[in-house]
């Protein structure tokens, strides 16, 4: 398994896309911070990159990578290696090299320009989002055999989580504005890893505003550590479940 992960990682690093991704993140983060003396504004721009670009790139790159290495996967399946080990290793190799890119590309500038809690939480959110969307990509590519369809599914997934979902929540909140929606709105965000990471950062960035709400549920969620534990737990579930589903599917799949 170690050997496989190592092989996947070396293969990806030779690929240059990840290198380009790292350099892109690094350039954007550096420029965002050096444009303004006020590092909180830089963090805000970075938040948008983390919530939009990181999931998009993770999901597309991983899908394409898995399709491109289908022959390699078929070859390995014929060897005495368990399918679970095989897919787990590919996931681990992919996720860890993309996480490395995020840590260097975003973590380094944050450490250099802004060593606040907000910055560190942002890096944590980016790392977790990478793990979630790599898993979703693998699930998408295991389910569909056709490459174009697989990439389509992956992009749709991203589009749904990044943009459509929030629109749906807003729509729901408007429709049911007369009812108490605190619990429901927190519950709904648990269905979206991008929303969860956004709120994780908000807990640090906008705590003054979030403390302004009267509801007891919000208060408990935003004060203290309840919100943190909730978000981290649900994010872990989001990281584990797609890859577990993919493994289950892959084990039965007729290659």
């Amino acid at each position: 398994m170690k050997k496989l992960i190592k092989y996947v990682m070396i293969d990806i690093l030779r690929n240059k896309v990840v290198l380009g991704y790292t350099l892109f993140l690094l350039a954007v983060s550096m420029s965002v911070f050096s444009l303004d003396d006020n590092s909180s504004k830089g963090l805000l721009s970075l938040l948008n990159i983390v919530l939009i670009i990181v999931p998009l790139l993770s999901v597309i790159f991983s899908t394409i990578y898995v399709y491109n290495s289908s022959e390699f996967i078929e070859l390995l399946v014929s060897q005495p290696i368990k399918r679970t080990t095989l897919l787990t290793s590919i996931y681990a190799g992919l996720a860890s090299s993309l996480m490395l890119a995020v840590i260097i590309g975003i973590g380094l500038p944050v450490l250099l320009y802004d060593r606040s809690d907000v910055g560190l939480t942002l890096v944590l959110a980016a790392v977790m989002l990478t793990a979630v969307f790599t898993g979703l990509a693998i699930l998408a590519s295991v389910i569909t055999r056709d490459k174009a369809k697989g990439i389509g599914v992956a992009i749709l997934l991203w589009f749904y989580f990044a943009i459509i979902f929030d629109g749906l929540i807003l729509f729901l909140l408007f429709q049911f504005a007369d009812y108490p929606l605190e619990k429901i709105s927190i519950g709904l965000t648990a269905l979206n890893p991008i929303d969860l990471s956004r709120i994780l950062v908000l807990l640090k960035m906008d705590i003054s505003a979030m403390m302004g709400y009267t509801g007891a549920v919000f208060k408990e969620f935003f004060e203290g550590m309840t919100g943190y534990f909730f978000i981290i737990l649900v994010m872990l579930a989001w990281i584990c479940s797609p890859i577990m589903l993919a493994i289950k599917r892959f084990n039965k799949k007729d290659l």
């Binding site: 303004d36 006020n38 909180s40 504004k41 805000l44 938040l47 948008n48 919530l51 939009i52 990044a162 943009i163 929030d166 629109g167 929540i169 807003l170 909140l173 408007f174 504005a177 929606l181 605190e182 709105s185 927190i186 965000t189 929303d195 956004r198 709120i199 950062v201 908000l202 960035m205 906008d206 705590i207 003054s208 505003a209 979030m210 403390m211 302004g212 709400y213 009267t214 509801g215 919000f218 208060k219």
Partner: protein, 410 residues
């Protein structure tokens, strides 16, 4: 003038027949009450170190009471501790503790009634329901005191300094904590509040009601129930104060309710849920303030009019300005907004297009608090951008026509 004053004071010293009365174990008087009974106007009562629990001590002569090494005057949580009913009394160097709470009387550690020229300085008032209570008192000074209360709920507690129907007070350099309000002013006029620190009080750092022409400068208000409330008053001047971390659903740095005239200048608002909340406020000048990392820098209700908001810095606030209506009768001018995205072609330091500090999303949250869960979502920023291009919900008139390109150095 100063020389004349000094000479007069010196002469007064020479001709005065003040005697010093000592109180304490092994001294002429064992109890404070007996010392006061024996004293005459102008005497100095020196209280030596020790514990004095004598029930309510009434000072009805113009004496100067001084503690040596902070003698403890204990109210045993049963009564008021010291009641001053004479002008010209000086209380200094005392530790007054355990004033009781009563629902029918306003008990306090030190109560001053119907007097003038009273000075309360360098005292420690600990574990009292209320600290200093002034009623119908004028030209008095409360300075350098430490007041730490024992309040746990708003109903059964008193204020650190409570002033009622007084004028020309000077409240300087006090540390006020764990009472209901740090300072309570009702019908108090022409007074100065300076260099005080008011923190961890249950309700307000300062509470003004019907108090006109007062000034508070260089004070710090931190983690109170909610900052400072100025209500139903005229011409209150607020300068160079710091408001920090007043968090909660009804918490703000300053609440301005039914205020006419006055100025809010050079203050710093840091990490409050709402920096300034204005309701029914008119003709106020807000300038040279810094708003940093607040939930809302300002909430200007539609009932405010003719206020001028100019030359302020807004950094990293979640929302710059919130409002509840489309009516807009205030002037926003030459402020620095860190969210401003305009340009400055003629390089005069003033942006060429106006800035609208109220975003669509802040209007949505105003109506529907549970939508706050979508804060900083991509969806929301798209909607905000669209609204900026074609305003339909946000008040069009609420705008800064001359936004600054660079922050002011304040």
């Amino acid at each position: 003038m100063k020389v004349f004053l000094a000479i007069t004071l010196l002469l007064m010293q020479l001709f005065a027949t003040a005697s010093v009365i000592e109180v304490g174990a092994g001294k002429q008087y064992k109890s404070i009450k007996s010392a006061i009974a024996a004293a005459k106007d102008g005497d100095i009562i020196l209280i030596n170190k020790g514990v004095y629990a004598e029930g309510e001590i009434v000072i009805d002569k113009a004496v100067s009471v001084r503690g040596v090494g902070y003698p403890v005057i204990d109210g045993k949580s049963k009564s008021q501790v010291i009641r001053v009913e004479a002008s010209g009394v000086v209380l200094e160097g005392l530790e007054v503790c355990n004033a009781g709470y009563s629902s029918s009387y306003d008990w306090a550690a030190i109560k001053i009634l119907n007097s003038k020229n009273v000075i309360v300085r360098n005292n420690r008032l600990l574990n009292n329901s209320a600290g200093v209570y002034l009623q119908n008192t004028s030209y008095s000074e409360i300075s350098n005191n430490t007041m730490q209360g024992n309040s746990t709920d708003e109903v059964e507690s008193g204020n650190a300094i409570h002033c009622w129907k007084s004028n020309n007070l000077r409240i300087l350099n006090n540390s006020l904590t764990r009472h209901r309000d740090g300072l309570y002013f009702e019908f108090v006029t022409a007074s100065l509040i300076q260099n005080n620190t008011s923190f961890k009080n249950l309700r307000y750092g300062i509470h003004f009601m019907f108090s006109n022409d007062d000034t508070y400068i260089h004070n710090t208000f931190r983690t109170n129930g909610s900052g400072v409330a100025v209500m139903f008053s005229k011409n209150v001047v607020m300068r160079y104060n710091t408001f920090e971390e007043n968090w909660g659903s009804a918490a703000y740095g300053i609440l301005l309710k039914e205020i006419q005239g006055g100025a809010v200048e050079g203050n710093t608002f840091l990490r409050n849920t709402v920096g300034i909340y204005m309701e029914g406020t008119s003709r106020i000048l807000l300038s040279n303030n810094t708003f940093k990392s607040n939930g809302w820098a300002m909430r200007v209700q539609a009932s405010c009019e003719a206020n001028t908001i100019t030359k302020n810095n807004y950094f990293g606030n979640t929302f710059d300005v919130g409002t509840n209506g489309t009516m807009q009768l205030n002037i926003f001018n030459e402020n620095y907004w860190d969210k401003y995205e305009g340009y400055d072609l003629n390089k005069d330091g003033i942006g060429d297009i106006h800035y609208q500090p109220v975003s669509l999303y802040s209007m949505i949250v105003e109506k529907m608090p549970s939508a706050s869960i979508l804060l900083r979502s991509f969806m929301v920023s798209i909607m905000d951008k669209a609204e900026r291009l074609m305003p339909s919900i946000t008040p069009v008139e609420l705008k800064d026509d001359k936004p600054l390109m660079k922050p002011l150095s304040l």
